[in-house]
Every structure is written in structure tokens, then in C-alpha cells.
Symmetry: C2
Subunit: 346 residues, 2 copies
């Protein structure tokens, strides 16, 4: 047995008012007398009425659907990215919006064009932003409101929420310097992430360079493949070229285990012989390591939520008041583990 869902006209008849009055009562777009409203509400209850989102969207040109653009890199997304997603989904729901997943890979930039043209979404949230990101350009041209988790090299008036990489690298170095380190290396993400201009990779490198230089300490940096083997090799190379190194700041969750293994190989203990700080990395992962890594953990869920809020601020503003963009940088939180200690007296 298939029953047809009740429509607005059914509610109107039952409440003995005009169709439009029901609409106004529902949206509060126009004053409706208390008694009429009551009758309407009652009729809705009794019929189990649910407004049809499609019809509403077609007529009003607003769907209350947001798209979340996320590329799926070969090796998959991690805990941090999952938290962006759940944070964003949660915030959207709280504001009465839906979040649609739009997996966007390089090749389907025109799938994105498809998305924007469909009239299906009110706005978009862009994840995993590159310094020069064609998705961002496209959204701009399409005239679709959007915000970023991350940012391009020149965000202009685009709203975003991003991690404060300068601050994060500075905090990492400060933590190590307080412990007495004077020669700290930086192990970054892969060369390819660097060369495609993946925001976090580039900004962390710059931040580290700046922070080390400001602190007046030597620093060595290196990109590194996102896997244990690359991490191990990178450590051995770094040590060979810079034997005075006493600590490493690592922004590469997959490589850091390789560094630990490399240390094992030469029988160095952490943190007695060498210190490690994992930055922009979830404690959910670094807690699993022994010794538990000192971590600068990004506020991922918060960033996801913020990205949505920023977007909705734009969307819900009347079109004639443009509203200046919201651009926020959030710091990572230092979680001191057992992987950082005073440098050895070699």
C-alpha cells in the first residue's frame, strides 16, 4: 500500500485557510494571527505533513544544502580530515542545513561545474586547498558563495578558517628550545605536496624557516614521502648531513614512525637521545605511538564547524549588505607527550 504524502494544499483545506497562508505560517514570512497559526499547526500534525524540499527550493531558489568539496588523495584521508567532515556536518545540521559530499579529484573539475549549475546547493565549503586552486577559481566565476578550510596564496575577500602554521611551527620550536635544543630539523610532507602547492605543506615550511631564524637557531628542513620507509631514510640522511641535530619537528603522520624506527636502528632512545614533536597531527594517532608523541594537535572539528558558520554568515546576510569576509587562523594545541625532552649532552 502506497500512501501519497500530504501536500500543503491538504493542510490548507483541513485548516480551512488559503494555501498561501499555510506557507506564510510555515516560514514566518508574513504575520499570521495566532488562532490561524494554531489551526494550521494542528492540521499539519494530524496529517503528518512534511514540506517538500524540492518544491520549496525550486520556488525560493534556496535549498539549504551545502557542498563539501574534498579530494581523495591516493593514500586516503586521515583522522584530521574525518574531523573536518564531522564538524562541518554537525554545524550544518544545527543550522538546518544539509551537507553534500562532493569528492573532487583533479580531473573532474568540470564535475564541479556541473554541481554549481544544478541549482542544488546554496554554497560550498572547500577542503584541502592549494595555494593556487582551480576549484576556488571556478567557484568564484560561478558566483557560488563558498568558504575554505585552508586558504589559497591570496584569499582576497574569500572567507576561510585555517590552521595558523606560523604559530604552530613557532610553538613547536619554542617547546624544544625551552628544553634546551639549539639545532632542530623539520620533516615535512612529500615533495609532491610541496610542488603542487598544498597549503599546509608550504606554509609549515615557511613558518618553520621563519620561526627558526627568529629564534636564532640553526634549522634543517626536508620534504619526505608519506610512509614509514621514507621517514626512516629521511632521518638517516638528515643525521648524516647534520650530526648536530637533537630534535625533529615532523609534519607527516605517516613518516614519523619511520623516524622512530631509524632511531631504534642506531639505538637512540626517545627522548633521551633525540626529541620528536609531531605537528598538525591528531592525538588520536600519536597517542598510539610509544613513547607517546608530543603533538601540536589541530582543532579539526572546530575548523569544520567554523568553515560552515563562516559560509552561512555570508549566505544568510541580505544580498545588499555584502559583509566583509571572515578569515580566521586557529592555533594547534600543544599536548606534551613523552617524545620530547632535554637534548643529550653529546
Amino acid at each position: 500500500m502506497v500512501t501519497v504524502p500530504p501536500r500543503m494544499i491538504d493542510v490548507a483545506k483541513r485548516a480551512d485557510v488559503a494555501l498561501s497562508t499555510v506557507s506564510y505560517a510555515l516560514n514566518g514570512t508574513r504575520p499570521v494571527s495566532a488562532s490561524t497559526r494554531r489551526r494550521i499547526m494542528r492540521a499539519m500534525e494530524e496529517l503528518g505533513y512534511r514540506p517538500n524540499a524540492l518544491a520549496r527550493g525550486l520556488a525560493s531558489k534556496r535549498t539549504r544544502i551545502l557542498a563539501l568539496l574534498f579530494p581523495t588523495p591516493e593514500r586516503g584521508l586521515g583522522v584530521t580530515e574525518m574531523e573536518f567532515v564531522t564538524g562541518a556536518a554537525d554545524a550544518a545540521r544545527e543550522h538546518g542545513y544539509h551537507l553534500m559530499l562532493a569528492p573532487s579529484e583533479l580531473r573532474d573539475i568540470h564535475e564541479l561545474e556541473h554541481l554549481t549549475g544544478q541549482g542544488l546547493i546554496d554554497g560550498a565549503l572547500v577542503m584541502e586547498v592549494r595555494l593556487d586552486d582551480e576549484r576556488v577559481d571556478l567557484l568564484g566565476q560561478a558566483g557560488l558563495p563558498f568558504s575554505m578550510i585552508g586558504r589559497t596564496s591570496d584569499p582576497g575577500t574569500i572567507s576561510y578558517a585555517d590552521i595558523d602554521f606560523e604559530q604552530t611551527t613557532r610553538d613547536a620550536i619554542a617547546h624544544l628550545m625551552e628544553l634546551g635544543h639549539r639545532c632542530v630539523g623539520f620533516l615535512n610532507h612529500s615533495p609532491s605536496a610541496l610542488s603542487v602547492g598544498y597549503g599546509p605543506t608550504v606554509r609549515a615550511a615557511e613558518g618553520f624557516r621563519r620561526a627558526a631564524s627568529d629564534a636564532g637557531i640553526a634549522h634543517i628542513e626536508r620534504p619526505c614521502g608519506d610512509n614509514a620507509a621514507a621517514g626512516k631514510a629521511a632521518f638517516h640522511e638528515l643525521r648524516a648531513s647534520s650530526p648536530e641535530l637533537t630534535a625533529l619537528v615532523v609534519m607527516n603522520e605517516r613518516a614519523v614512525i619511520g623516524v622512530m624506527n631509524a632511531l631504534d636502528e642506531i639505538s637512540w632512545r626517545v627522548p633521551d637521545d633525540f626529541s620528536i614533536v609531531s605537528i598538525v597531527s591528531s592525538t588520536r594517532v600519536t597517542e598510539m605511538m610509544r613513547p607517546q608523541l608530543t603533538t601540536l594537535e589541530p582543532p579539526s572539528t572546530e575548523l569544520g564547524r567554523l568553515g560552515v558558520q563562516i559560509l552561512l554568515d555570508q549566505l544568510e546576510r541580505p544580498h545588499d549588505e555584502p559583509l566583509p569576509p571572515t578569515q580566521k587562523l586557529l592555533p594547534c594545541r600543544l599536548v606534551v607527550g613523552a617524545s620530547s625532552g632535554p637534548p643529550p649532552a653529546r
Copy 2:
């Protein structure tokens, strides 16, 4: 400058055909002569036409949008869940569908009612299923097509893709027995997961019980909070009550580190003094541990994809041919690490 997007009628005029002909050409719902089609396609190109998804959905009653129902447990989702999501999103996209995120917590079962009533989605994919799941009941009543990643205690004719927990626990035990173990314990998820009837928790426990009994070996099982401290405590208790234990099968990614720490405390080495197998757990996580854990890794991405495919099979079948449900159990893959070896000769 705001330009209005072209509509179907614009295409029709430009190609000098009727509006409906454009529609038929677009959907292939009715034969259209090659030349007419060409003219239409050309007009679309020239105008940069994109069909309006809302109007299409309103008229056809099909939106090509799927909902992904996932609850967000207090402590967040892990890598495995992220892979469900990306797998599902990917599969949906390949079939020309969108995936909408529907974070559903216990309390908002009526938000779910809202979702189903909106006419916004063609079907749903339910994640994190419990043996007795009210979301499943509700979807059934709402008459919305859906499939599950996981399954209820009695799936009936509902399609699903799930992990084969029987097989997985059997494989874990077999691996340990081959190494010579004869007394293997099982560390499960939290008591609360067990008591709310979370599918994997209950099924893995049953599977383990059965597999151990079939293998004719002693077995001890215990639920355990999802954190390191609980894991450590659980190990000490297990050892106290069953000193003959030589290995542990663990289905608790967050607790397993606690077990390792507990072993450290009593100076037992893995795998020389004690073996560990982590089941239904991503190698992306267990690779980070030292020694790298022997793992039974679930085919998460595959499950996500499969869940969508199964759902689409139902959706795209003509309504008069019901189609028997697809119910699939996928095995986990054994990845032998360095945490399992022969039992000690104590």
C-alpha cells in the same frame, strides 16, 4: 552583473524544437533523430546549459541523492569509518548520484523522519548499525529504499554489506594456533557498545566464542573501554585471572596501546612473551605501532562502495520487479606484522 542561467526552453528555442524534445534528448526517454539531437546538443553547449536538479526532481520524483546515516559517537570516528564514507561517496559519484551526510544521533530519530519526508533523497545508506536499530525500523516504515553497512540481528529482506566477523575471528585464532598458541583471549569494545547491541561488538564476541570452541582451545573474553588506560587495566586483570594466556585478539584500536604498555610494565616483549592480533582495524593505524601489529584489516572502502551499489541496484530496478536483497559478508585481510609469534616456553 548577474546573468540568469539558461533554461530548457532557451535551448529548445535555439535548436528550434519543442521543449519536450530537449527533455527527451537529454534523458534518452524517447528516441530523437540524430540530427535533432545534434542541434540540441549544440544549443546546450553554446548556452552552457545545465539542467536544474530541483525542477527535475520535482517533476520526476527522483533526485539522485542518497543519504548516508552516520552517528557521531562521543570519541569520534576513525580511519575505518572515513573509508566507508569515501568509498560510498566515490561509488555514488561514479553512478551519477550525490551523497548527503546525515549525522544522526540517538535523540534525533525524528530528524530522520524529517529527512525521509522531504522528498529530497532517493534512498539511504545506514552506517554503524545496531542489532536492534530504530533507524532501520523507521526507514522501513517510511518506505524509503535503503541498505546497510552492517546489519541488524534479523536483516530480513534488507540488503547489506558487512564484515564477516565469524570468519575474521576464526582467521585470527587460526593464525595464532598455527604459531602454537593454545590459550587465546579476546579483548572487545566497550561494555556500552555491547549493551546497546552494536553489531560488530556482539558479532565478534560470538564469533570468537564459536571459533575458539570449534578449535578446541580455551578462551577468555572481555569487553574494554575504548582507551589506553582501560586496555592496560584489562590486560592486567586478564593475566591475573588467566595466567596461561599467551596471546590476545583485540578488537579495540584505542585500547590495544594500553595492552602494549601493560606488557612493557611487566617487561614482556611482543611477540616473544606475548602475541597480539588487532582485528577489524586499519593498518593505517596499526602500522604506527611498534612492533607493527598483526592485523585483520577490514575492506572498508570496498564496503562503502558496495553499500551504495546494493542500494542503487534496488533503486534502479523497475518497481514491479522486486529483486531479492543482496546480503554480503566480506572477510578481513590478514596482514602479518611483528606482534605475533610462537608462544613462549614458560
